[in-house]
């Protein structure tokens, strides 16, 4: 049984109002208003001058549960949305391992499900640990990316990406949040540049909520719960309006979807659900035995959902 033993996150201090990134993103004044008023995005965080390693290190340094257990970490997985983030031969995940006493661990990157790769990495980590056979063995999933080009920072009319990072210690046993199910709905027909294929973009837009709902329903079914029985949904922060509309469609109370970070952090690639988990813990929103759902979607397109018992 895959378990989430501890989660930490890092949000850079630098807050950038949407108006301040409008120029570089070539947003009109009306598009800025659209993000603020309808999509619920007011600002993003940026780690100005920082590197991907800085982001990953900041999150991992906050993962207190890792201290003293480094020798038990067998795998380090870097989950990210973008396939290329640094020039060769820079390797932030190996540098991270060296910095945190994890040089012995097998490390690799998971990227082909874009912003849904974080959940895939947790699933892979759990399966590797299950094969490993040592109930004390651990895996570290890290995520955090630079919003370093316009393409990396904007899905027009849908989302603005910011910089943040998360670190999640995954185990296979013991007291922790237990992953009960994981469902993934891969829609490869949506691979490509949405801004260059309007017909595909239109179909993607139409099928996005349906595909997300299907993954969530499948994960809930596999976990043996109805969506209504879930205490909380920890979403990806694509925008607030998407979740408000999806909730109406599936009859789930939007008040039980943690959207508080959308206006203040934007969409931080694969890190959103982990950041939202930390917020949920800080606010005491989960009680022992509660079942909650983590949801994420990635362009390309992948829709993923995971039901977890706290």
């Amino acid at each position: 049984m895959t378990t989430l033993k501890a989660v930490a996150c890092y949000l850079p201090d630098k807050r950038m109002p949407v108006e301040d990134v409008a120029g570089q993103l070539e947003l009109t004044a009306m598009q800025v208003r659209l993000f603020r008023r309808y999509l619920g995005m007011s600002e993003i965080r940026l780690d100005l001058g920082g590197t991907p390693l800085d982001l990953l290190s900041a999150a991992t340094a906050r993962l207190g549960a890792l201290r003293g257990l480094e020798h038990l970490v067998r795998y380090v997985l870097y989950a990210r949305a973008l396939p290329v983030v640094v020039p060769y031969p820079v390797n932030p995940v190996r540098d991270l391992c060296r910095s945190f006493g994890l040089d012995h661990a097998v490390s690799f990157t998971v990227s082909h499900q874009a912003c849904a790769s974080g959940l895939l990495a947790v699933d892979i980590a759990g399966r590797l640990l299950a094969e490993d056979g040592d109930p004390d063995a651990l895996a570290l999933v890290v995520t955090g990316e630079k919003a370093f080009t316009r393409d990396a920072q904007l899905v027009p009319g849908m989302s603005i990406f910011g910089e943040a990072a998360a670190a999640c210690l995954v185990g296979s046993d013991g007291p922790a949040d237990r992953v009960i199910s994981y469902a993934v709905n891969v829609r490869g027909e949506f691979d490509g540049r949405l801004d260059e294929a309007p017909e595909m973009a239109s179909r993607f837009e139409k099928e996005y909520p349906t595909s997300m709902a299907e993954a969530m329903t499948t994960a809930a079914d596999q976990a043996g719960v109805s969506l209504g029985e879930l205490s909380l949904i920890l979403p990806h922060n694509v925008n607030a309006l998407f979740w408000q509309r999806l909730c109406r469609r599936i009859g789930f109370p939007v008040g039980r979807v943690l959207l508080d970070n959308v206006p203040v952090a934007g969409h931080a690639f694969c890190a959103d659900p982990f950041i939202n988990y930390v917020t949920a813990m800080e606010r005491g929103l989960l009680r022992s035995g509660d079942r909650y759902l983590i949801a994420a979607a990635g362009v390309g397109a992948t829709f993923a959902a995971m039901v977890v018992e706290h």
Partner: protein
């Protein structure tokens, strides 16, 4: 938490004003000045609109009509024509009372 329901206006007068406003602002939103807008025109297939441009249009209509529009239950796929959009505006205008 209970969400307060905003008072909404729904009247044929507002629908006609919405149609007039759409005809006035849509050519500019589409960057197709001179385009004559008719209620039966299809937003996506005839005019090439998508959700994002639809939301931009609603913001323009808010300014033009001096109202706020609740977009939470907007369904771009079901709202096919200019007339449908005017119906939506008339049914989802929020007063500030």
């Amino acid at each position: 938490m209970e969400q307060e329901t905003a008072p909404q206006l729904s009247d044929t007068g507002l629908r006609q004003r919405a149609l007039d406003a759409i005809a006035a602002v849509l050519p500019r939103v589409l960057a197709r000045e001179g385009l004559v807008i008719a209620p039966e025109m299809k937003l996506m297939s005839d005019l090439g609109m998508r959700s994002a441009s639809m939301l931009e249009l609603l913001l323009e209509l808010e300014d033009h009509l001096d109202i706020e529009i609740d977009v939470e239950d907007i369904d771009a796929a079901a709202m096919t024509s200019v007339g449908d959009l005017a119906d939506y505006v008339a049914g989802h205008a929020i007063t500030n009372a």
